[in-house]
């Protein structure tokens, strides 16, 4: 945002996009959805020490109120269909953070017969966080990156069909 500050008349010039994005990035709500070990670190990240609330990041229990989703854990093939369904239930615009090596690539369990090797096979990922599990600080960093991404988006200038295609 660019501020043109004039002493006599307080006003600011900016684009609608930027104002909208500024408000959007200040209240990113995530879907509380833990799959495995990483979910504990996600919980811990919401806890007192690395308080995620200060970024306006609050957990919601239903996908319909969520802006983004943490894929925190190992996506197995039995679960994959359900994750996809949850993702589909989230309203646009929506983002996904893949947390931990399991959901990035399959990680430790790549050799297993029942593990989907990488969640990006079924949904688009915005930020990958490496680690097994990533520390809460890494998660905070991921959210900062996501905030940057949200700020840069030319959200209003897109057709709806474009958005859907992108997602």
């Amino acid at each position: 945002m660019s501020f043109y500050h004039k002493a006599e008349s307080n006003f600011l010039v900016t684009t609608l996009d930027e104002v909208l994005n500024y408000t959007r990035k200040g209240s990113l709500w995530y879907l509380f959805f833990g799959l495995a070990c990483c979910a504990i670190e996600m919980m811990q990240a919401g806890g007192p020490r690395t308080d995620l609330d200060r970024f306006g990041v609050v957990f919601r229990a239903t996908p319909r109120q969520a802006d983004f989703i943490f894929i925190a854990g190992t996506p197995t093939i039995k679960m994959a269909d359900r994750i996809k369904r949850l993702w589909d239930q989230m309203p646009y615009p929506k983002y996904a953070i893949s947390m931990g090596s399991c959901s990035n690539t399959g990680g430790l369990f790549q050799k297993g017969y029942s593990v989907l090797n990488g969640i990006d096979k079924i949904l688009p990922i915005d930020v990958y966080v490496p680690g097994c599990p990533p520390r809460p600080e890494a998660l905070t960093e991921a959210i900062l990156i996501l905030r940057e991404k949200v700020q840069k988006e030319k959200f209003l200038r897109k057709e709806e069909s474009e958005l859907i295609e992108e997602a």
């Binding site: 093939i77 994959a80 790549q110 017969y113 096979k121 079924i122």
Partner: protein
């Protein structure tokens, strides 16, 4: 009761149905004729000298020549442990259920059915436990090959590290 006494009592009771018994290993175990499993189980649970009321765990193993299903039993009161094994053929791995004798066996048997294909006769609810219901094959068998695709999802992932190490291994040879 000491392991050797325990085995003596069981052998005296069932004789021919006990194919093998030993207390030389870590835990005493008996191998039972599949047809006699239920009778032996009832005896182990109800007899005054046995009182095996706690089914610790149960599992199946693929031993190439045969499939083994085993039950680890423990008695809270008398504090002794026994492993009961049955050996089943690969072609027709079928044995009577013990899920009405120890209720804990219900899920263990479902698990063994799912992962090894052991068919427990008269089990009240023999469905797959871990894998999706439309899964093909039993993963813990030694000759199992995992599928490349499931529900349109590609299960293979290219692993550059693995490729490099494989190349190196080839060069070394």
């Amino acid at each position: 009761m000491k392991p050797s006494e325990l085995l003596n009592v069981i052998e005296a009771e069932f004789g021919d149905f006990i194919l093998e018994s030993s207390d030389q290993g870590f835990d005493p175990y008996i191998v039972v004729e599949p047809d006699a499993l239920r009778d032996v189980s009832f005896f182990l649970r109800d007899d005054e000298r046995m009182k095996f009321d706690f089914l610790r765990t149960s599992l199946g193993t693929d031993k190439i020549d045969f499939i083994e299903s085993l039950f680890v039993l423990y008695s809270y009161e008398l504090k002794h442990q026994l492993i009961v094994k049955v050996e089943l053929s690969h072609k027709n791995p079928e044995v009577d259920t013990v899920s009405d004798i120890w209720k804990a066996a219900n899920w263990y048997e479902r698990e063994s059915y799912d992962l090894l294909g052991i068919n427990y006769k008269d089990h009240p609810d023999l469905r797959r436990l871990m894998m999706p219901h439309d899964w093909v094959g039993h993963p813990l068998l030694k000759d199992y090959k995992s599928p490349k695709k499931y529900h349109g999802m590609d299960l293979y992932r290219f692993n550059p590290v693995l490729k490099v190490t494989k190349k190196k291994a080839k060069k070394k040879k």
